[in-house]
């Protein structure tokens, strides 16, 4: 035991001697979470649109004003020819063009019907779809005003209640996601080189002839990083509470426990990478190239998992980040206790044990 403590102490010294790395380690996540918390949103605001008004009458002006007045759109330019639509799109200046037909107002009065084309640049399908929906909603509203007094019988109107995030803030979605990416990658990257570095620097031999066993080496390598990552996690949680006003509806204690669990699972994954790679470069590339995109794309951080094709939904189960995101959203936003997230917790525990067991098995007690 005393030997083991000595080993852990040595590892701590190694880490704290490298001031520059420590600065990077703590500075970066803070900068990232601040940047993303304020900047990233999947709401639509101030989308630039162009208008092609063949009619130029009172009604079209009114509609244009209504659209310009909404916070979603700003009218960037008026164009005069159909051909201009192509060129504004090709230059990437606007995302949509409103194309009013000839005699819009006249048609509306005479035929009770007038037509407006909403041309969107659907290279980004999500934005295109949302733009089209929002403009439609504004027009519906305008139509209701025009039709005031005309009763339409038998109406069922839905009263929607948005639970857990009534203001539909996207920061509630992004803060847990960014927290997960940071903890996952920083943790895995830290430990992924811990053993390879010894191999590459030639100090592995010394470790091997020392009387501490493989299991102790691995645990001893992980312990200091648990300490560092927990500080990182605390800083991130404090920032999200005090700066982004993320609620913590559930127990702070449970949040802490689950965070430590997730950190340990990520560190263990890093150790596993470390035992199977020969050089630091390989280890870093595996942890960065191998983890970054899958964690961003398959964890449910940005894209809803339920919309993915079934094989991918199955694959997403092996991403620890997926389970952690479910857990922290549950605790912070829904306020659930362990009885609601025990399954996710068990999965994380299972993964951690698996990573550690495999690392111990793969850890070579002889040099090649």
């Amino acid at each position: 035991m005393k030997r083991f403590i000595g080993f852990v102490k040595k590892e701590f010294y190694h880490i704290f001697r490298d001031r520059r790395s420590l600065f990077i380690l703590f500075g970066m996540p803070i900068a990232q979470i601040l940047l993303f918390g304020f900047a990233i949103t999947n709401e639509i605001n101030n989308v630039d649109i162009a208008v092609l008004d063949h009619s130029k009458d009172a009604t079209t002006k009114e509609i244009i004003n209504k659209i310009a007045a909404s916070k979603y759109f700003s009218i960037k330019q008026m164009i005069t020819h159909e051909a201009d639509i192509t060129s504004v799109f090709e230059k990437g200046q606007v995302k949509a063009v409103l194309n009013f037909e000839n005699d819009f107002s006249k048609n509306l009065i005479n035929d009770h019907k007038a037509t407006l084309q909403i041309v969107t640049d659907a290279t980004d399908p999500n934005t295109a779809n949302t733009i089209s929906n929002y403009i439609n909603a504004i027009l519906q509203q305008y139509q209701l005003e025009l039709n005031k007094g005309i009763t339409t019988p038998y109406q069922i109107v839905s009263q929607t209640r948005m639970v857990y995030n009534p203001e539909l803030k996207s920061v509630y979605m992004f803060v847990p996601g960014v927290m997960t990416i940071i903890l996952m990658l920083v943790s895995a990257m830290m430990t992924s080189i811990s053993i390879t570095k010894e191999k590459e620097m030639g100090t592995m031999e010394i470790l091997l002839v020392s009387p501490i066993n493989p299991f102790q080496v691995i645990i001893g390598k992980v312990v200091p990083y648990i300490f560092l990552s927990v500080i990182n996690a605390i800083v991130i949680v404090l920032l999200s509470i005090f700066i982004f006003h993320m609620p913590v509806q559930g127990s702070l204690f449970l949040l802490g426990f689950e965070s430590v669990l997730f950190i340990v699972s990520a560190l263990a994954l890093g150790i596993l990478i470390s035992t199977i790679s020969k050089t630091q470069q390989t280890a870093m590339m595996i942890s960065l190239m191998g983890l970054m995109l899958p964690v961003i794309l398959l964890s449910g951080f940005i894209f809803p998992i339920s919309s993915m094709p079934v094989p991918l939904q199955v694959i997403s189960n092996i991403i620890p980040a997926k389970w952690f995101i479910i857990i922290i959203k549950g605790i912070m936003l829904k306020g659930v206790g362990l009885q609601y997230i025990w399954k996710e917790t068990l999965i994380l525990i299972g993964m951690t044990v698996f990573f550690i067991a495999l690392s111990v098995k793969k850890y070579k007690i002889r040099l090649e």
Binding site: R20, S21, I24, M28, L35, F38, A39, I40, N42, E90, L108, H112, A114, L116, Q117, I118, V119, T120, A122, T123, D124, P125, N126, N136, Q143, L146, T152, P153, Y154, Q155, I156, V157, S158, Q159, R161, M162, N165, L168, S170, M173, V178, L185, I193, T279, T282, M285, L288, M289, G290, L293, I302, F303, P304, S306, S307, M308, K329, L333, V336, Y340
Partner: protein, 373 residues
């Protein structure tokens, strides 16, 4: 010239000698492109729908049937009580709950107007907004049917005006996400590989002590750097080629514009990334530090590139920050050239900014690299 060729040869040998790296450089990105492109969709489908039917009449059943028939909603569950429904929502087993009150049918006949409670899990605000639109659409269609079934002729005297909207989705009529995401993810993969490899390169020699040996050789600073970076540039272009082929063959992503233009842009773009990588490499003491910094910028570049979330929606200061994001330009150019067929003049502003960026970054990197340590 000969010196550069030698160092290029040496670098290539070093890269390809490390058998562990080859699959990471070529196989991992290809696999990710093929697999992950399918994951990136904002389409809201398979909405887990539940309802509480307190009415049990033909009208309430008909309404539920409408939801059942809609392609967006599935797994219909009839919850016995509201508390059971909210418990299931806490567990995440249901996204949308429709609450049909008692006497729904009777009151609708009588009042001709009825409020229905809909509860939506809004943690993902964007998805919740879309779900709300779908719910409203289904109910509106149901209203239309009601009118046909129950409406009396006398109601229809004043004709309401109607503004017809025709949405046209240009360049991607079917709103296919893959058309949009495959080029974007390809951009990310090319960027990550070239940045990480170049970022680790010189610091690695520093860490294992071989940089000193190079410093005492008669090679010039610029020769050394060009020799270091050229192999990564080749790898980046090779990845782009493989990726474009896969995009065409597997995902049928259109290639409307000029392929040559895309290559021209990419050849300059990779120089920017290599410049950044080199700068990081010169700036740091260990490979780990280099990778942490590279990771830091990559995450920022990716999330602020406009690929996953729209740039216009960001606050003004953040939009200014994106001006310095190389991935943003690459994503835009990819979309413009591949999907819209934009020409040289259309992408010229992007091209010039990228070129300037390449000069600045490589200039900084060379300036920072000191032959004497």
């Amino acid at each position: 010239m000969k010196t550069i060729l030698y160092i290029i040869q040496k670098e290539f040998k070093q890269i390809f000698r490390n058998k562990g790296m080859l699959p990471i450089i070529f196989v991992l990105p290809v696999l990710q492109l093929i697999i992950l492109s399918n994951a990136a969709t904002f389409e809201v489908q398979n909405i887990k729908f539940g309802y509480i039917d307190n009415d049990h009449t033909s009208t309430s059943r008909a309404l539920v049937e409408k939801f059942n028939a809609s392609e967006y909603f599935n797994v219909l569950t009839d919850f016995p009580s509201e508390s059971k429904a909210s418990a299931e929502m806490l567990l995440g087993n249901v996204d949308v709950v429709l609450d049909i009150p008692q006497y729904f049918e009777r009151d609708l006949q009588k009042e001709k107007y009825m409020n229905l409670g809909v509860t939506i899990n809004a943690i993902d605000g964007a998805a919740a907004g879309v779900e709300n639109v779908y719910v409203t659409q289904v109910i509106q269609r149901f209203n239309q049917n009601l009118k046909v079934d129950l409406q009396q002729v006398s109601d229809q005297q004043i004709q309401p005006v109607n503004i017809n909207t025709i949405p046209l989705f240009w360049y991607n009529e079917t709103l296919n996400y893959k058309t949009f995401m495959v080029p974007g993810i390809l951009v990310l993969l090319v960027t990550m590989i070239t940045l990480f490899l170049s970022g680790m390169n010189i610091v690695r020699e520093k860490e294992i002590g071989t940089l000193e040996q190079i410093n005492v050789t008669p090679i010039k600073k610029s020769q050394f750097i060009i020799g270091k970076l050229f192999p990564f540039w080749v790898i980046g272009m090779a990845l782009l080629t493989i990726g474009l082929l896969l995009a065409k063959v597997i995902f049928q992503v259109p290639m409307v514009g000029s392929l040559a233009l895309l290559y021209l842009y990419t050849s300059i773009y990779i120089l920017v990334i290599l410049g950044i990588g080199l700068f990081i490499s010169n700036f740091t003491d260990t490979q780990q530090q280099a990778m942490f910094i590279a990771w830091f910028f990559t995450v920022i570049f990716i999330l602020m590139s406009g690929l996953f979330t729209p740039i216009e929606s960001m606050p003004k200061w953040a939009q200014i920050v994106t001006e310095f994001n190389p991935i943003r330009y690459f994503v835009e150019v990819m979309r413009m050239v591949m999907l819209k067929g934009s020409g040289f003049m259309d992408i010229l502003p992007h091209l010039l900014k990228t070129l300037l960026y390449a000069f600045v970054m490589n200039g900084l990197a060379v300036w920072r690299y000191k032959k004497t340590t």
